[in-house]
Symmetry: C2
Subunit: 469 residues, 2 copies
Amino acid sequence: MPPETQVTGRPMSLRCSESSGARTHVHTPTPLIMQAIAERLRTARPRIDVVALPDVTGWHVDPAGNLRHDSGRFYTIEGLDVLSAPGRPSAWSQPIIVQPEIGILGLLVKEFHGVLHCLVQIKMEPGNITTFQLSPTVQATRSNYTGVHRGRTVPYLEYFTEPARGRTITDVLQSEQGSWFLGKRNRNMIVEVTEDVPVHDSFCWMTIGQLHEALGVANLVNMDTRTVLSHLPFDVVPERSELLDEDSFLGALARSRRVAPRTRQSLTSWFISAKATREISRQRAGLRGIEGWTSVAGHLRHSDGRFFSVLGVRVETEGRETTSWSQPMIAPVGPGIIAFITKQIDGVLHVLLQARSQAGTFDVVEMGPTVQCRPGNYPDSTPPFLADVVGAPAGAVRFDVVQSEEGGRFYHATNRCLIVEADAGFATDVPDGFAWSTLHEISALIEHGHYFNVEARCLLACLNSLWRG
Amino acid sequence: MPPETQVTGRPMSLRCSESSGARTHVHTPTPLIMQAIAERLRTARPRIDVVALPDVTGWHVDPAGNLRHDSGRFYTIEGLDVLSAPGRPSAWSQPIIVQPEIGILGLLVKEFHGVLHCLVQIKMEPGNITTFQLSPTVQATRSNYTGVHRGRTVPYLEYFTEPARGRTITDVLQSEQGSWFLGKRNRNMIVEVTEDVPVHDSFCWMTIGQLHEALGVANLVNMDTRTVLSHLPFDVVPERSELLDEDSFLGALARSRRVAPRTRQSLTSWFISAKATREISRQRAGLRGIEGWTSVAGHLRHSDGRFFSVLGVRVETEGRETTSWSQPMIAPVGPGIIAFITKQIDGVLHVLLQARSQAGTFDVVEMGPTVQCRPGNYPDSTPPFLADVVGAPAGAVRFDVVQSEEGGRFYHATNRCLIVEADAGFATDVPDGFAWSTLHEISALIEHGHYFNVEARCLLACLNSLWRG
């Protein structure tokens, strides 16, 4: 296993933009970033091979059959028995990643010439379908930021540890993929500085507009960046008041940011009701002999071939910092779909949220997208609203880009991210478990942890990206 | 075990005030309420005896040694092994109440003649040191409000179930005593109605001013009422703007409600930091042979005689609805102290909060009072700030009243509730684990669950009660 934040490859052109003289742009132009990613691929020559679990060096199977790093660090992959009720009471067992430590996903922002810029890293993760993606300034596990290694191994970490070196704009504990992680969460932080910040190799400044544009490119902005971006307060992305009177999607979006939380109590009541009436009981169990899962060619698979498999990955890189390691990962079967159905109600854009309970959900229920599924897992049925989303007419599709899930734990895990605008005929009355909200309301709740799951936060970042001019 | 909300005794004078003609007061005058409580005691003649655990009818010891109701309902008392780190790493085992169901604590409010009134019940709980106390309109477990018994057994429940029959002012999931409950929480709800509400036997309307006054009487307002009251939004208890220029405690309190959350991010960062750096690992274990605990005369006690014991209680009442039952309860050793140290900083009242992790805390840490302890548990040491609180000069003590903890689970559990105003010499720099806040900031966070523990919420209700004229 590598250090959590690693700087590979030799110094390259990314830094140059910082020294190109007064009044010029500080951000690295997007073509240069794409070029830098290509250069990384060329110099680091990362070689990422899928291997059998017994061939994952440095990891062993413990007496309960769980996968564990020899150092005891990082994470384990264990078995979980799940019982969920009521609604469709169901019981199942599955492998799950256990990583109780709380890490930091930190984005450093700074104003240059009146424009807010974000310090972004070009970072490799073995599970990334595109190998290198744009990550936040810091992705650090707790062992990186406490104890003996404090502040030494992770560049820029000191801006996010206590006391923060700048103005903390966002600091909230948010969950990650409940299907594959047991109660995992990270601090999502945005810190603004005014001091000079050295730009290390593989880092660059991007404007928020640039990042929003990059969200339109498949598998470019990584999950950690997307979840942090979903917290950007409205005063950081200023109001485009010229849109407010427009009879358009963007006009309805502009008004959605403004509408007082008239429905606030009923949304939170709906949410708390779901917490109070649903039950999910979980029992950690050994991975050995876990029901419904079998080892095939050294990978752990569901016996129906559905859901995901647990496999091994071996990584080798060249260049300035040669490194190699192996690790187990979760590889979903087929791509997923996550989608918001939006609708103008009284001229205000509303987003349709779903109360979701997953195996690893930290606190019973979080609000997720309207649709969140891997269609391949439903051979005999169709999740609610999936047909509305995939069958939406082209003119109603406001966003449609494939994005990657966390490449440090998940292998080639992608979701097609869709934002669809429903027409006036779409029923405002929705089934149990669904509720409408506005961006105003969402932005008030997202400051607090565990309201929105990572898939909903990703789509919120995508929805906010449509705001750009 | 009785129905969770039971109506005992015969019809009495409480209702009369409702029919006493237009423009008269709707609330029941406090002397009449005190009289009604005395009358209840006289007619119900509750007899509450402490008994040995084996003599608790209807309960049995399961194979793991845990205490369980024969029906499988209500709650269990189990063993818990706790490991907490870092700071003072410690490991211990203790009995704990397991009751994963989420109940409703609901207060129905209605405006009469421009004054908000709360519908309160005079309710008996076997653990109450004063037997009858003032409870919220509804105290219901989940089995009361879902399934077959929906709305039939608990009066007024229909005002709080979905969809609420009135305007929901507050609906938030909050935790209860982390020392004795494993992750227990209830919905704290305030619902305002405009329709006519029948006043059933043992219920009466009280103004918020009356309830605030009642908080000044020892063991009168029960814990459930106090936690719900702590959520009263400021617009429900109007601003007393005449105080804003006063150079007094109340003036500083008035300004504390107004100060914009300048320190908001740093308070939440401090809180999230505590969550991220502390660890508490818990393993449910059988109560049989739990380390450090022994059975003495049929009660389970800590071998040092500290903390609490688990004992049995047998209840018999007379009057119109004769009833009897037995149940196990937790009885703390000696009274506790919970206290806020407050201080005027730049003329604004600040409250000193402590990040607390207890055995049963739902999510690692919650914000608690400055001081929260049973001094008898610390024979060889003194918790931080305890001396400042108990040694405060009389003129600095703003509130000093003994209040009861939940009488349905805890036997004669009381806390001396203190609010002390520190003088200018009191250090504003506080140790790790403590932070200052204002009421403005607190009121923004208390709308969301799991920021403040039940002891802090109780003191907030007491602090708000000082606001009355």
